[in-house]
Amino acid sequence: MLVKASDLAIARGGVPVLEGLSFALGAGEALILRGPNGAGKTTLLRTVAGLQPALSGTLEVAEESVAYAAHADGLKSMLTVTENLSFWASVFGQSSIEAALDRFNLRSLADRQAGTLSAGQKRRLGLARLLVTGRPLWVLDEPTVSLDTASVQLFAAAVRAHLAGGGAALIATHIDLGLEARVLDVTSHKAVHRDIPGGFEEAFL
């Protein structure tokens, strides 16, 4: 089991946004998060990625297993595509970026500076970073933003290959990726506003 949440409650800026969340993801499984803007999908993903603590409930995530992809791609505009990927590969202790370049069709852009890429190309590079992490649990926040139809297919194929290889994926998205995945609609878990111990101070941290 890569991630297991039971009765999880999360807060954004001290305000509880979601509660009563229970889900589990094992090898080869994907979970799609759905919900309107502001529902708390990003907050949930950041909590799973370990960037913020949960408000209550338990969340177990396998040690050193998360590869997180946020709205921002974490690219340096003055570095080339290859340099950007190689940096993340060495941070995660991997050596080869070739497979990632091929998988996201970045081969022809390999020597271009990331700052000169289009929004969709940058996103492809940001997603290619997931492949060089070598980590099993992909936590993806709206990964298809600014991708064209062909690139969405590339991405869906990459996720399928990742799942087939024993990985797992937790994806917040508004579009249909055509994946065999369970869907968790967070709307029904919206937190009822009430005072939570520690919530007041949390707002100022």
Partner: protein
């Protein structure tokens, strides 16, 4: 970690990286001082160690908000926090990269600029040594300030206000080493104090920086 250092150094020397900015600022400040206080040689000799130290300190301050703000803006900081790199290591490497691109050029340029302020002969090695010992503390303290203000829009001024008081001990002992050296006195006591401050900040502050960074990334 080495990859992060290499990336930061590569970014610093490429267009828009800000390498040399601090150095140019240092140069201009030191050149402007004789215009401001007048050309009397004895006066310049007397204030040279303090002016050189103050110039180096301000030049260091200039580039502090770049240490973490750029990585915050493009999302790299979030990704690094979820990577195998410990945040304590990340802030240490960031401070090291800042020192190599800002502090080290200042150390190397200071003796040359000492000539402009008529620094006495025996003062040169002590000035260089005091800057070499003191500027790492400036970078580490600055990284702590940058971690405190990361995510604030236009946090640069607040960063300066937070960091400048923390620079006081380094400035006092650093300038004292250079002053005593220039006057031919024994500079060992302030030199040891300066070295102690630097070692202490390098040993302790990365933990504080990483802790506030975790808080700010929430």
């Amino acid at each position: 970690m080495i990859a992060l250092l290499r990336r930061d150094l590569a970014l610093a020397v490429r267009a828009g990286g800000g390498f040399g900015l601090g150095l140019a600022f240092f140069l201009i400040v030191v050149v402007l001082v004789p215009f401001g206080v007048g050309p009397e040689t004895p006066l310049l000799t007397a204030i040279a160690p303090g002016v050189l130290w103050l110039g180096a300190l301000l030049a260091c301050l200039l580039s502090l908000d770049r240490i973490l703000a750029l990585d915050w803006e493009d999302g790299s900081l979030d990704l690094m926090a979820t990577s195998p790199l410990p945040l304590e290591g990340v802030v240490t490497i960031k401070a090291l990269a800042h020192w190599v691109t800002t502090g080290l050029p200042l150390v190397l340029a200071a003796p040359v600029l000492g000539v402009l302020l008529n620094l006495p002969g025996p003062g040169y090695p002590w000035l260089t040594l005091s800057l070499a010992l003191g500027t790492p503390a400036l970078s580490v303290l600055g990284t702590f300030g940058a971690a405190l203000t990361v995510g604030l829009k236009r946090g640069g001024l607040l960063l300066s206000l937070l960091v400048l008081p923390l620079y006081v001990p380094t400035l006092i002992f650093g300038a004292e080493v250079a002053r005593r050296g220039a006057a031919g006195l024994d500079p060992m006591t302030p030199l040891l104090m300066l070295a102690g401050i630097t070692c202490g900040t390098i040993a302790l502050l990365p933990f504080a920086s990483a802790a506030v960074l975790r808080m700010n990334l929430r």
